[in-house]
C-alpha cells in the first residue's frame, strides 16, 4: 500500500484532487492534521462563509447562528474574519468545568462534546474570537466543529482567506501584514500632512 500525505487546503480545486488520488488502486490518501487558517489580507468581507455555515448546520440562511463571524470596519476598509481557529491558548478549554471542551495537541483546534455540556455558557464569555454562541431558542452551545474535517467556509471562500490545512508556514505577522502596514501608513501621512485622516 502506497500512502500519499496531502494537505487538505480547501479552496477551489482541492476536492477534485482528492477524488483523483483516491481512485488510484492500492493507494491510500492520508490527510495531515489540519487547522483553520485565516489570512486577513485576502478577506473581502462578503460573508459567504457565514451563509454557507448556517445553511449547512441550520438548514437556512441565518448568519447570526453561523459558527464564524466577519467583522467589517467600514471606516478603515478592513474586514476581519473570526473563526474557531488555532488559538495560542484555549480559554474555552481551560474554563470548562466539566471537561466538555477538548483541544487537539497537534493542530490546536478545539472540539465540544455536546453530551457533556451543561450549558453554563462559560466558554461563550471566554472565547476571544467571539465565535462560541448560545442558541437561546434551542438551548444549546453553538460551536464550530470544523465540519468533521471538510469545513464549508474554506470550501466556499472565494478569495482563499479561509483555508483548512496543516499548520501554515507563513507567520501570523504576514497574515496581518495588510492591517499593520495600513495603520502605519495612515499614521505617517497624518503626521506629515496633518490631514485628519482617521
Amino acid at each position: 500500500m502506497i500512502q500519499t500525505l496531502i494537505n487538505r487546503t480547501g479552496g477551489i480545486h482541492a476536492k477534485d484532487f482528492r477524488v483523483v488520488m483516491c481512485d488510484i488502486v492500492g493507494h491510500e490518501v492520508v490527510y495531515l492534521p489540519s487547522q483553520l487558517i485565516v489570512d486577513f489580507n485576502k478577506c473581502t468581507g462578503c460573508r459567504i462563509c457565514e451563509l454557507a455555515c448556517s445553511a449547512k448546520h441550520e438548514g437556512k440562511f441565518q448568519p447570526s447562528l453561523a459558527r464564524l463571524k466577519i467583522v467589517r470596519y467600514d471606516d478603515l476598509g478592513l474586514d476581519i474574519p473570526n473563526v474557531c481557529g488555532p488559538c495560542e491558548t484555549a480559554p474555552c478549554v481551560d474554563i470548562c468545568p466539566v471537561f466538555a471542551m477538548r483541544r487537539d495537541p497537534i493542530t490546536k483546534m478545539t472540539f465540544l462534546d455536546e453530551d457533556k455540556c451543561i450549558l453554563c455558557k462559560s466558554c461563550v464569555g471566554a472565547c476571544v474570537n467571539g465565535v462560541i454562541l448560545l442558541d437561546t431558542v434551542k438551548m444549546r452551545i453553538i460551536k464550530c466543529d470544523h465540519c468533521g474535517g471538510d469545513p464549508e467556509c474554506a470550501r466556499v471562500c472565494p478569495t482563499g482567506a479561509i483555508t483548512y490545512g496543516p499548520d501554515s508556514s507563513s507567520a501570523t505577522v504576514d497574515k496581518h501584514g495588510k492591517i499593520m502596514s495600513y495603520l502605519k501608513e495612515i499614521e505617517r501621512t497624518d503626521k506629515v500632512y496633518s490631514t485628519g485622516a482617521e
Partner: protein, 629 residues
C-alpha cells in the same frame, strides 16, 4: 408563504409615530416577484397623481427580493423607491452593501416610510423591537459620522445603517442615501425624500433566517453559480480593478464622455485607467453581501493636495463625473470628490454633470462671475471641483443653484444655458454616449427614471460580442445588431435586455452578474426562482418576460399619470444635433425616432403618444391601474 420571503411588510408612519406590520399579499408574488415589482405595485396604488416628492404624502420604500439574503451570488442588494425629487416621476435607486439582507433577517420584505416627522429621528429596527429615536444630536453630521454614532449608541458594530448627509437634510435634489459608508443609493434623490421627512437614518439589525423552498437544490445551483463567477475571465478582471477597466475600453470606442459630453475621447484618459490607478492607490479589496467577485476597492492617496484621503471607490461613473467630464486627469481628485459626495450624501453622476454644465456655461460665456458669486469656473481645476461639491452639499452661494440639478439650474439661470444641461426628464446623463453606442441612446430616452444606464444598457453591441448576439437575437439580425452606429434592431436589443434587467431588479441581484457579457441570464433566473420560492410559474422564460413587461409598463403608467408622454422621450440636442467631433465615432449623431417607434411597438405602446394601449393593459392584466388615476 412561498420560500424566500419573510411575508411581512413593515410600515413606519412618522406623522403618528407608529409602526404597523402587514402581511405581504400572496397575490403579489406571481405577477411581481419582489423588489422593484412590489415597489411599483405599492407606489402606484398608494400615491395619488401629482404628489409633491418632498411633501408629507410621498412614501419611501426600502425593498428586497425573494433571494436577498441567500447564497445566490451578489444577492445583497436593496432598492429604494419613491417619487423622485430630481425628476418628479418614478424614482428608484439600487444599492449594494448589507442593508437588504439584514432587513430580511430582521423579518421584513419591505419597509415603507410614510408621513413626516416633526423633529429629526432615526428609525431603529432590531428584529421585532421597533422605535423612532431622536436624532437631534446627529442632525447635520456627515454620513460616516452618523453611522459611527448610531453603532456606538446601540453598542453593536453589526447594525446596518442607511444614512443621509447634510445634502439630504438640505434637500439637494440629487441627494443620496449612503449604506455601509461607501455604497450609495445615489440616483433620483432618495436622500432628499428622507431629509424632507426628517429621517436621518434607518438602522437595521436582524437575527432571523431566510428559508428557501428547496435548500439542497438551491445550494447546489448557487455554489455552481459562485464557481461560474469565480472562473469568468471578465469577473476576474473586475475583482482586480472594479469598473475602472471600462475607461480604456470606452476611450477606445470613443464613448468616454468628456467636457460635459462634448466629445467621447479624453486626452488624459491614461491617468484614469485601471492599470495606472491600481498599483498606485489601491490598498484593499472589498465585497458586498454574498459576492464572490468583490469589485469594491479601498484606495488611499499618499501625496499631493489630497494626501490622506482614504475611501472606497469611485466606480467608472465617478472617474467620468469628476474626471473626464470636467477635464481632470487626476485620480486623487476623483477619489476626493467621491469622498465628499459619500460624506455629504450626493449622487456622483448628477453632481459631476451639474458642475460640468456650469463650467461649460461659464466658459462659453452664457453666465459670468455675477451668476456664480465670483467664482471663475474653468475646465480641469481640481480644487474648484472639490469646493463646488462642498458648496452644493451645504447649499451655499452658487451651490444652492446647482443643488437643484442641471435642468432646474438652467431654468433659473436662463440666458440660453438650457443647451448645456445634459439631462433626460431632469436626470443627468450617465457616462455613456448615444452617438457611439446607439442602443444606450434609446435606453436613455425611454428609461423610467430618466437618463438611465442601469435599466437597459446593452453591452453586446457596445463591445461587439457576436456569438452572444447571434444566440440571443438570431443570426439573421447580424451584423446590424452589434453595429453601434446603426439604429436598426436596436429596439429589439434594448427590449430584451430591459426585460432581463427587470427580473434582476426583482430578485434582487447585482448588475455585474448580468453584464459584460452576462454570467447569468433568464435561463438561470428560471432555475433559481422556483428553487427559492417553490413557485412553478417562474420556471418558464416567457412567464418571466411577461412579468418584466408588466413592470416596465406599470412604471410607464406611473410616469404617464405625471404627464410623461412621447414628447418627453427625447435626448439632449447634443446627442441628436451635434455630430461627435473626434474619435472613432467622428461625425455620428443619433436618429431617435425610428428606434422609438420600434421600441413602442415591441412594448405595445401607442406609436404617437407613447402610452400603453388598451390591449397591452389587458394582456398584462394591468386594467386595475385605471381606477387609480
Amino acid at each position: 408563504m412561498a420560500g424566500g420571503y419573510t411575508g411581512k411588510i413593515l410600515r413606519a408612519n412618522l406623522t403618528d409615530e407608529k409602526f404597523k406590520i402587514e402581511p405581504l399579499p400572496k397575490e403579489w408574488i406571481k405577477p411581481y416577484i419582489g423588489g422593484d415589482g412590489f415597489g411599483a405595485k405599492l407606489l402606484f396604488t398608494e400615491l395619488a397623481a401629482g404628489t409633491d416628492p418632498l411633501g408629507e404624502q410621498n412614501k419611501l420604500i426600502i425593498g428586497t427580493g425573494p433571494i436577498t439574503g441567500t447564497m445566490w451570488p451578489m444577492s445583497g442588494r436593496t432598492v429604494l423607491i419613491s417619487k423622485a425629487p430630481l425628476t418628479g416621476i418614478w424614482g428608484e435607486s439600487h444599492v449594494g452593501g448589507f442593508l437588504g439582507a439584514e432587513l430580511k433577517y430582521a423579518g421584513y420584505d419591505m419597509l415603507v416610510i410614510e408621513g413626516k416627522s416633526e423633529k429629526p429621528v432615526y428609525i431603529d429596527i432590531h428584529d421585532s423591537d421597533l422605535a423612532l429615536r431622536d436624532a437631534k444630536s446627529k442632525w447635520g453630521l456627515t454620513t460616516d459620522k452618523v453611522t459611527t454614532a448610531i453603532k456606538k449608541d446601540k453598542h453593536d458594530p453589526d447594525v446596518q445603517i442607511a444614512a443621509i448627509g447634510p445634502a439630504g437634510e438640505k434637500q439637494v435634489r440629487f441627494a443620496s442615501v449612503m449604506v455601509n459608508l461607501a455604497r450609495a443609493a445615489g440616483r433620483t434623490g432618495m436622500g432628499a425624500v428622507l431629509g424632507s421627512k426628517n429621517v436621518k437614518a434607518v438602522a437595521v439589525r436582524g437575527h432571523g433566517a431566510v428559508e428557501v423552498h428547496d435548500l439542497d437544490g438551491f445550494l447546489e445551483f448557487a455554489n455552481a453559480a459562485h464557481m461560474r463567477v469565480r472562473n469568468n475571465p471578465i469577473a476576474q478582471g473586475m475583482s482586480k480593478a472594479g469598473t475602472w477597466g471600462l475607461v480604456a475600453v470606452k476611450q477606445e470606442i470613443g464613448e468616454f464622455p468628456t467636457y460635459n459630453h462634448q466629445t467621447g475621447v479624453f486626452e488624459g484618459w491614461e491617468k484614469l485607467s485601471a492599470d495606472y490607478i491600481r498599483p498606485r492607490f489601491t490598498i484593499g479589496d472589498r465585497a458586498c453581501f454574498g459576492c464572490s467577485l468583490g469589485c469594491k476597492k479601498v484606495n488611499y492617496v499618499k501625496e499631493g493636495p489630497f494626501a490622506g484621503t482614504l475611501e472606497e471607490g469611485p466606480e467608472y461613473e465617478g472617474l467620468m463625473a469628476f474626471g473626464s467630464l470636467i477635464g481632470i486627469d487626476d485620480y486623487a481628485t476623483t477619489l476626493k470628490g467621491n469622498q465628499i459626495c459619500n460624506r455629504y450624501g450626493l449622487d456622483i453622476i448628477s453632481a459631476g454633470s451639474t458642475i460640468a454644465f456650469a463650467i461649460e456655461a461659464f466658459v462659453k460665456g452664457a453666465i459670468n462671475e455675477e451668476d456664480t458669486g465670483g467664482l471663475k469656473l474653468e475646465w480641469g481645476n481640481r480644487e474648484q471641483v472639490i469646493k463646488l461639491l462642498e458648496m452644493i452639499g451645504k447649499r451655499e452661494g452658487f451651490g444652492a443653484i446647482l443643488a437643484e440639478g442641471s435642468k432646474r439650474a438652467a431654468e433659473k439661470l436662463g440666458k440660453g444655458t438650457e443647451k448645456f444641461a445634459i439631462h433626460v426628464k431632469g436626470m443627468e446623463v450617465s457616462g455613456q454616449d448615444g452617438r457611439t453606442h446607439r442602443s444606450i441612446a434609446l435606453g436613455h430616452a425611454t428609461g423610467a427614471r430618466g437618463a438611465d444606464h442601469l435599466r437597459s444598457l446593452v453591452v453586446v453591441d457596445q463591445l461587439g460580442y457576436e456569438d452572444v448576439a447571434a444566440k440571443r437575437w438570431g443570426a439573421d439580425k447580424l451584423p446590424e445588431i452589434i453595429d453601434p452606429y446603426t439604429e436598426k434592431y436596436k429596439a429589439n436589443a434594448v427590449f430584451e435586455s430591459e426585460n432581463a434587467y427587470c427580473i434582476r431588479d426583482t430578485l434582487i441581484v447585482c448588475w455585474y452578474t448580468v453584464s459584460w457579457p452576462p454570467i447569468f441570464w433568464m435561463d438561470d433566473f428560471t432555475t433559481i426562482l422556483p428553487l427559492a420560492t417553490g413557485e412553478k410559474h417562474f420556471s418558464k422564460v416567457e412567464n418571466l418576460v411577461e412579468i418584466a413587461e408588466r413592470q416596465v409598463t406599470l412604471k410607464r403608467l406611473f410616469n404617464a399619470r405625471e404627464g410623461i408622454t412621447k414628447k418627453d422621450d427625447i435626448l439632449p440636442d447634443r446627442f441628436v444635433k451635434d455630430p461627435m467631433p473626434d474619435g472613432p465615432g467622428k461625425g455620428q449623431v443619433v436618429d431617435l425616432e425610428p428606434m422609438l417607434r420600434d421600441y413602442y411597438s415591441l412594448r405595445g405602446w401607442d406609436l404617437e403618444t407613447g402610452l400603453p394601449t388598451e390591449e397591452t393593459l389587458k394582456r398584462l392584466s394591468l386594467e386595475w391601474t385605471k381606477s387609480h388615476s
